[in-house]
Symmetry: C2
Subunit: 291 residues, 2 copies
């Protein structure tokens, strides 16, 4: 085999099917067939509706029903009719089921840790894994409005600040910056949008209402593993849409000229450079866009 792209891709796919696939199948390690283990795990991860389980796991209705019955006999789950609609059923873990689920989680986490620990550069490995995972699942990136103080938002923001700190010559200290108040980025004054890819926050943007027909776009950030996929544009479009809904006619933003990709992105997406409009010490470039 030579190093042509397709061979490299297929080598990757052999490596993961034999290694990660083996991890997956090792759910058998607790003496339960894979099907039942998958159902238990899905329930533990909060998929309680039977229809949702069927859909998520891609199982036939009869098969899932039998698997649920099996777990019920083992006293790992309980099922009850849905409060709103007694035709539907919801499954929940019993105390025993929770223990069993935790055991599976511990097993998976342990294997992940072991694999990461034996690598000399776990951060590089994880960055590569993020990139691959995002590439494989990129149709499934979803944007959701959240509180800017939520765990997902903080996860993005801390990476955003860290990146500014490493890219600004003078470093970056949030407390010196004009950090927007959280409630300025919560409806009705503004919004905060996080991009999620299968549970991992990979980008964000905030809209800080200025009270009248003007608002500021803040904290636009995309994870390094996701750059080049057009996520910044998607986030910006989403935030502009919200702004329009809030009857905002003019958007502003500030940035720093060392963030060259950002400058280029604003210019080519309809933003116009304007004079400084605040006294924040970090930004040195200011933009405006009319909606």
């Amino acid at each position: 085999m030579l190093a042509d792209p397709v061979s490299r891709f297929r080598r990757f796919s052999r490596a993961v099917t034999s290694e990660v696939g083996a991890l997956d199948t090792s759910f058998l390690g607790r003496g339960r067939p894979l099907g039942a283990a998958r159902v238990l795990n899905a329930i533990g991860h909060g998929r309680t509706d039977v229809a949702e389980l069927r859909d998520y796991l891609g199982l036939d209705s009869g098969l899932l029903s039998r698997l649920l019955r099996g777990l019920e006999v083992e006293k790992l789950i309980e099922t009850a009719p849905h409060p709103d609609d007694a035709r539907r059923r919801v499954a929940t873990l019993t105390a025993d089921g929770r223990r069993e689920f935790d055991a599976y989680e511990g097993l998976s986490n342990g294997q992940a840790e072991a694999l990461l620990a034996r690598h000399p550069h776990p951060e590089a490995l994880l960055a590569a894994m993020d990139l691959v995972a995002t590439a494989l699942g990129r149709d499934r990136i979803s944007l959701t409005e959240t509180d800017p103080r939520s765990a997902e938002a903080c996860c993005c923001l801390s990476q955003y600040y860290a990146e500014l700190a490493s890219r600004f010559r003078q470093g970056f200290d949030v407390s010196l910056s004009r950090d927007p108040e959280a409630r300025d980025m919560i409806r009705p004054r503004g919004v905060f949008i996080v991009a999620m890819s299968d549970g991992l926050p990979i980008g964000c943007v905030g809209l800080k209402g200025a009270g009248h027909d003007m608002a500021e776009v803040k904290r636009l950030w995309v994870a390094p593993s996701t750059r080049g996929l057009g996520l910044a544009r998607r986030l910006m479009t989403a935030v502009e849409e919200v702004a329009r809904g809030l009857s905002i006619t003019t958007l502003r933003l500030d940035t720093n000229s060392s963030l060259t990709e950002a400058l280029g992105f604003y210019r080519k997406s309809g933003w116009r450079q304007i004079d400084r409009f605040n006294d924040d010490p970090y930004p040195d470039a200011f933009f405006e866009k009319c909606l």
Copy 2:
């Protein structure tokens, strides 16, 4: 889920089991169960011995036997006793089998191409995949002696030259360098060793015999995706071993001071810096090691 290492790892593993796993299972796309398809593919990839197949696919002897019978009935393979030992059997593809195998290959290649094509930075994606694949399978890196003109060797060398070209201020042109003759790196005068990881060449080193008890180490290179895993040391140890076997007592090498990791590596593994010993325009640092 937050962005802690274990969650990121598990996200990766979900992404690949659902995507790549689906590709793998799509062997069903040709109306044959996975087991039979795997056997056909293994045979197509040159694993003809029944015992080898059993070992490689991890199948029970009875099960494999039945799968082979099935493929034989479909007229995709033929089996015959092994010429050296009539107890053993070898399986070979018929013309029909070859066609079917090629169809599977085309399918796999097509899916790989499609996935790469829809990514804006296929080279970055492939680099990440190489890194992950090597990390997962790193116990299975094997060193083999090859002709320095073989496909694997050329694959390493061309990447090596490209890297020198990008890292030397003045660029790099092989034809201006003292390119060792291939036969100087073939036994009995020398050797050329390539590191392979599941079919992909990921590193190399040459030993150029100088004719008496002195030899030169040339073309030590490790693929970027593999750096930090100790492969350079393994290659160097292997080449030193060969040198000892050839009754060589002193090794020399030349390098360039812009390759800082290399300099550090030589220093910490018993090499001593010496005066220039050739007039090659590229190197500016020279080392020696007594065995």
